[in-house]
């Protein structure tokens, strides 16, 4: 294996770290955990960059220098990682050990300048040679002690977590560190140290950290940046694949020199810029074939608005929305509560998956703190939030019991023009898993798409009911004013009233002095009116 094309592995890792640093810094570099994460990523980036330079063997560049550089960066990264993990897990920072670690590696840097870390490093006959100095053999165990302590802390954190989501947030970085650590051992093995095996570990670490950031909000990176990161990683992967093809092509032709390296990198850069267009092309009908759950999310997001707009009845809309939402996210049960303006409460229009009909009589008052919170904030409320958000401590016992009876795991605001018009309530998932951040983003998106259609239908029905009412009053006035047959007047009145209020019997009485004289009694039996 020619050492030069091995340089592509650290190069990919390097680019990955640059993107991660950029996005983390954009998020909030004032948080201590974020700052330490950036510092750790920076050292890993330096490690990868040093490795790339060492393997690429550009003219006028000292392989010896870059080797020393990469090893010293790796040493410092082990302490930085330990520090970051302690802060990330909210544990006290052992300043003594951290200072000691940095102190030792500052000594290692001084030893490196004197040639005790790397004895010799050079390229010969297309192969890379490396001879480590005595200080390396002393410092690597120190770095491994810090890495070991980091792993211990992460395992401890993992075991103390009960929340699956939080566990995964720890599991991925843990896996990344383990892989990096194991593959770094190759630097101590004769025959292996000439190849960038450690950089393969570094690459795996970058990938796992990116995944943890994207999927499990390792550092609470907002949705926008997660989307950006997702695109960036897709771009990098594609670019690197093409870069690899290009480099292999140059190697086959025996033309891999610094000019061709530059050409290959430039080509990859152009591809990265053009990649969003490719993504759009790939988002066609075939996209769904590879998308899995997320494809279902996208299809529902696309179709909600148009599907609901074609339904004239609020009940139909509610049932369609709940059935589709529950199926897509895999919820066992759920319901849609829609605002009743007159009563100032949210009434269930579709409760799916519940056995008791009594639950249909439940409603949420507008002044319920959970409803107030949903009206104010632009995010979903989870069962955890119900316990954690201080404003929700104002909830009545009855309000809490009601949500508990409905097994509410998530409450989603349905907002039209910033006004809360409904609440989607979802129970536990069929799988028993918790709702992920993606689930919540999706639910929020769909609910807001549905809001406009639901609000329009609600307003339409309200207007229609009002028109029916006016029409009925007008009819009654006409009958009372024109007919001399009292039976006809009573019958018309009863018929009209029946349309507004469901009743079995009706009595019409006239006030006669101190008493009430009944002039008509009707009852509905088997669909016909008896007098």
């Amino acid at each position: 294996m020619s050492s030069q094309y091995a340089a592509i592995i650290p190069l990919i890792a390097f680019i990955g770290y640059v993107v991660l640093i950029f996005l983390t810094a954009k998020q909030d570099s004032n948080k201590q955990a974020n700052r330490l994460f950036i510092w750790y990523l920076f050292l890993l980036m330096m490690w990868s960059f040093g490795s790339f330079m060492a393997y690429a063997n550009f003219p006028f560049m000292s392989t010896y220098f870059w080797n020393t550089f990469l090893i010293v960066s790796a040493f410092f990264a082990s302490v930085a990682l330990f520090h970051f993990v302690r802060v990330f897990l909210n544990k006290p920072v052992p300043w003594l050990w951290i200072s000691l670690g940095y102190g030792i590696f500052i000594l290692a840097t001084i030893a490196a300048t004197m040639g005790y870390v790397v004895k010799d490093a050079y390229h010969s006959g297309g192969h890379y040679h490396l001879e480590l100095g005595i200080a390396s053999y002393i410092m690597w165990p120190v770095a491994f002690i810090f890495a070991g302590a980091t792993i211990f802390n992460l395992v401890q954190g993992y075991r103390s977590e009960k929340d699956l989501f939080a566990r995964n947030r720890i599991a991925y970085p843990l896996a990344g560190i383990l892989i990096t650590m194991v593959l770094s051992l190759s630097n101590l093995l004769p025959g292996w140290k000439y190849y960038p095996v450690d950089q393969a570990g570094n690459l795996a670490n970058a990938s796992l950290l990116s995944y943890a950031v994207l999927r499990y909000k390792l550092l609470d990176i907002t949705v926008v940046f997660r989307v950006l990161l997702r695109y960036a990683i897709q771009t990098i992967i594609l670019s690197c694949l093409l870069l690899l093809v290009g480099v292999l092509w140059f190697i086959a032709g025996g033309d891999l020199d610094s000019v061709n390296w530059s050409l290959a990198i430039f080509g990859a850069f152009i591809l990265a810029v053009a990649f969003p267009l490719l993504i759009r092309l790939m988002r066609g009908p075939i996209g769904g074939m590879f998308g899995g759950t997320h494809s279902g999310y996208r299809q529902m997001l696309r179709g909600t608005s148009s599907a609901l707009s074609s339904m004239p009845e609020l009940e139909d809309q509610a049932i369609w929305l709940m059935d589709n939402l529950m199926e897509t996210v895999g919820a066992q049960r759920g319901g849609l509560f829609i605002l009743d303006e007159d009563k100032k409460r949210f009434i269930p229009r579709a409760l799916r998956g519940y056995d008791s009909t009594l639950l249909m009589q439940m409603y949420m008052e507008s002044d319920n703190p959970a409803v107030g919170y949903l009206a104010k904030m632009n995010n979903c409320l989870t069962a955890d939030d119900l316990e954690r958000v201080p404003l929700l401590r104002a909830m009545w016992k009855k309000e809490r019991d009601q949500l508990a009876e409905l097994e509410a795991n998530v409450l989603v605001p349905v907002k039209s023009k910033e006004r809360l018009v409904g609440v989607v309530l979802l129970g536990p998932k069929v799988s028993g898993k918790i709702y992920t951040v993606d689930d919540l983003d999706f639910l929020f998106g769909v609910a807001n798409q549905a809001a406009v259609a639901i609000e329009n239908t609600r307003l339409y029905q309200e207007a229609k009911d009002r028109a029916d009412w006016i029409d009925m009053i007008s009819k009654l006035t006409t009958v009372i004013g024109t007919s001399l047959d009292m039976n006809e007047v009573y019958e018309t009145f009863t018929e009209a009233l029946k349309k507004l209020v469901a009743f079995d019997r009706i009595s019409i009485g006239l006030v006669d002095g101190d008493s009430l004289r009944f002039v008509a009694v009707s009852s509905w039996m088997s669909g016909s009116l008896f007098r």
Partner: protein, 533 residues
Amino acid sequence: MSTARELIHQGKNKEIWQKYCGFIDFTVDEFVETQSHLLLEQLRLLQDCELGHRLLWGLKPSSIEEFRQKVPLTTYEDYIPYLTDKREDVLPEKPILWQRTSGTTGKHAEKWAPITKRLYDEVGYYATAMLAFSSAQRRGQFVIRDHDKLLYGMAPPPYASGAMASLLDEEFPFEVMPPKAKADLMDFPERIREGYSLALTQGLDLVFAVSSILVAIGEQFSQGASTNYSSMRSRPRAIPRLAKGLVRSRLAGRPPLPRDIWNLKGVFTGGMDATIMREKVKYYWGRYPLEIYGSSEIPVIAAQTWDYKGMIFMPTMAFYEFIPEDERQRARRDKSYRPRTLLLNELEVGQVYEIVFTSLQGGAFVRYRIGDSLEVTALRNEELNINLPQLAFYGRCDNVIDIGGFTRLTEKVLWKAIENSGIGYSGWTARKEVNGSEPILHMYIELKRQNKTDEEVTIAVHQSLKEICDDWAAMEQMLGWQPLQVTLIPEGAIGKYILEQMAAGAELSTLQPPKLNASDDILRRLMGVTPVA
């Protein structure tokens, strides 16, 4: 739902802070909204029970405004027929425990207050918040850990602070010293001794005790009570800790103090002496005490945050109303007058208000006048960015010495004056007396190993009073009055009084002589005068 115990165990400090301390981020309107919503729930509960029906006078207020306008204020007298006999059938919600406090109402020497499960849970919730505040360096950063050791030096159950001990024991993976099961079998002094002894051998992280006890322990330390040879011999496991303390104190060139032996994460305390003793507590223990304001009726009403300055209210314990001082005075003169109340978002800086509260979470009290006055020190805490009014305990409404209508002195002011005068004292009491035709403030002070005359102490206390009380200073400046007389109590008299009270089986709160308006009999006992047969 994760409990504080689980969250602490998992090291989820951020979640703990948000869940338990997040209420400090309320705006004052959010605070009132939260209370108002819970009050509507409480009103429904009250309408369905006998006590509620009686206290609401059969009214069914549907809004907060109607409630405040129509429902009369109450005092403990209104509850005596129901609470003294612990009648659970008349209450809005069944209590899980009854708390006791010393009473002054008529013939009832003790007051009982029911605590519901929900109120009890809320106390646990705020106890967690206070633990976090007491050990916080800045917002969100506190250092409470699993198995931290807590010395508990408050009154035992059924006093309100005793319930707090049980809650702490239930809520957290702490080691309460002495362990609750053992502590329940001990009397108060014995518990303190045992807890202190355990702390010497096992270490100490947190202290919850009355400030005067903390100061007393500190003073004993500085006199070498725990670092002498016999003490070390009886507790060999304490030797390393004591030795460390000795080295530290020698390096600092002063007698050993508790702060040399233990690095405390937090000290929290209740009672009026917390403000007065705070500097001494800091000197002896290395940290300011976190002051908590509560009562038997509502165990936690307000507490300081991590700057140890103004207290903030706990929003879900009770619905708070405040009677302005002029309204209170008017109601005092005219018994038929119903004073106007304000809500938290209507308070003004520098004003003194009497607090009125209505229990939430199924509690029993409605527009209840507990008899305490609070002073608004600020409308928000600029330093900590807390948008809630900051309050300080001002004094008991009924425990004020009024001198010629010119100046009104509370227990707190007098205590502060003695403290600031630089006189070493063991205890004191004060009351208004008439000398000839003029009213005077007569203070009885027991000095601690000091050889001073009555006149010298009078001058020192008078000067100190002038510095802290403008009205007192103005009285001398404008009228030439100096209505202060100090009489020194024989040394050891207060200690003897306490022993006598203990022997007579007096309850904890009456062991010490009252600070204000002590009876002639008490003064005779203190002065060592044998009553005439």
